[in-house]
């Protein structure tokens, strides 16, 4: 495939990003780029800061210092209106789906269209059917989220994220809580989206099998820092000790000291906002 100038474009650029919850700094200077049309998997254990990183990328957290360049704007320095404009061009699929329980699946997918476009209801209905079909949920427009299984909820969430034809798609733990077969289905969906739309996709996960299946590049975050970043195959054969520990599923050494245990606990617990 010919590398066009467009394909080499940088979609997201992080420079020395630091994010804190109150006094506690979670991300200690993260820097990397995301290229157009690539699928980047952010790997990390619990408490590594990967969820915070994802939330900052979509504007749910504000950086305490550093820069995030997304679609030409520094998220650390823009107004709410500008952030909202950027958000119309990105889509996010949350860990539990985060579908609105009081609306049907169809209404969920239609919501961004109703809010941000002046399209006719009939047009919106057609788009909703299209999106649901793309994720394998054709015909489920009138179901309530509570009537769906876990895997179907994830798919519906993806359909909703796709409603406005985003340029960048974010996934927060897409396989979490799903059995291996259903999780594989979600992986397949991500691969299909990659192939069909050449979307830039960012996935936060700790499921290694999924990660290696879908990733072009991976970045391993540990204790708020980038430990390693590179193409998936390079990561697989990396000799970096933390990378090997993560990939080979080696348990942490037995924590004998009470203070160490306390520190481990407080690094894992997410503080209330």
């Amino acid at each position: 495939m010919v590398q066009t100038a467009q394909q080499a474009e940088t979609m997201i650029s992080l420079r020395n990003l630091r994010v804190s919850y109150g006094d506690r700094e979670i991300l200690h200077g993260i820097s990397f780029d995301v290229m157009r049309s690539e699928t980047l998997v952010i790997l990390g254990g619990s408490g590594s800061g990967k969820s915070t990183l994802l939330r900052t990328l979509v504007g749910l957290e504000k950086p305490s210092s550093g820069e995030i360049w997304l679609r030409g704007k520094d998220l650390a320095a823009i107004s709410r209106q500008e952030m909202d404009e950027i958000r119309r061009k990105i889509g996010m699929s949350f860990q539990g789906g985060a579908l609105f329980g009081s609306m049907t699946v169809g209404e969920n997918v239609a919501l961004p269209l109703r809010e941000h476009t002046k399209l006719e209801d009939s047009t919106i209905e057609i788009i909703v059917r299209l999106k649901l079909d793309q994720v394998g949920l054709a015909g489920f427009e009138n179901y309530m989220p509570s009537q769906l299984s876990g895997g179907m909820k994830k798919r519906a969430a993806v359909a909703r994220a796709l409603a406005m034809d985003p340029e960048i798609l974010f996934f927060d733990e897409p396989s979490a809580g799903l059995d291996p077969i259903i999780a594989a289905g979600v992986d397949q969906l991500i691969l299909e989206l990659k192939k069909a739309f050449h979307m830039t996709i960012i996935v936060v996960t700790h499921e290694l099998a999924s990660a290696f299946l879908i990733a072009d590049r991976m970045v391993l975050i540990d204790k708020g820092k980038v430990v390693a970043i590179g193409p998936a195959e390079e990561m697989r054969s990396s000799t970096h000790p933390r990378v090997r520990q993560f990939l080979d599923r080696v348990a942490e050494p037995e924590v004998a000291q009470e203070l160490d245990y306390l520190q481990m606990l407080t690094e894992i617990t997410r503080p209330d906002r």
């Binding site: 749910l60 909202d84 949350f94 985060a98």
Partner: protein, 265 residues
Amino acid sequence: MELTSQIGGSVTDGLAYLGGLASLVGRAAYFTFVAPFRGKPLRLPRAVSQAMQVGVRALPILSLITFFIGLILALQSAYELRRLGALNFVANAVAISVTRELGPLITAIVVIGRSGSAFAAEIGTMKVSEEIDALETMAIQPVDFLVTPKFLAMIVMLPCLTIWANSMGILGGALFGVAQADFTWTRYIQASLDALFLRDIVTGLVKSVMFGITITAVGCYEGLITGAGAEQVGRSTTRAVVVSIFLVILVDLVFTTLFFFMSGR
């Protein structure tokens, strides 16, 4: 020293809480009154369905409660009035107490129990399942989408419910009047109307609007600041009810005092 710092801490926490409430009311007011002129939709369908839930569905229970309150008031006043040989003033006593105070207050308490808790639970559950975050990532403002329709509904419905409650309270008193105080239904109602000044009804209605704003603000605020987990939703709901009751009584005190000094009689 311990006690002083605790009191100080509670006071600053309380003020911060009130600040949060005020900020929420301010933003909801922006979306209700300013944003429509800047092209954003007013969300009337959602406000109407909220109004159905908050207002119309509350009518049965509210009717019963305020009817009984009217009856209780009549009984209690009659107890003293009878000794003074002034039993025919029962209608006056009930009418004035109900329209000025108990109509708005009891209505507010019923609405707190039904809707204040429901707002906190609904929004709290959404917070816990990341639905609020989802709204934000879709460039939809949670306050605009969730809270403003509720404010609209409550501000319209609470005065309406209060008027209904006032009527039911007077009817409750009428039951006593007819049964024990030699009234007929028409004479009792006429006596009630004669005893009332417009001021009595209007002050009650103004209070009811303020109660509505308070209840919505507390319910939605508690929902939005819910911590993680189902247990936290329960806590938010409980706090919403308790804090609402307290603040409603406080607002009642403020406005009753205000009206007292304004009357200058």
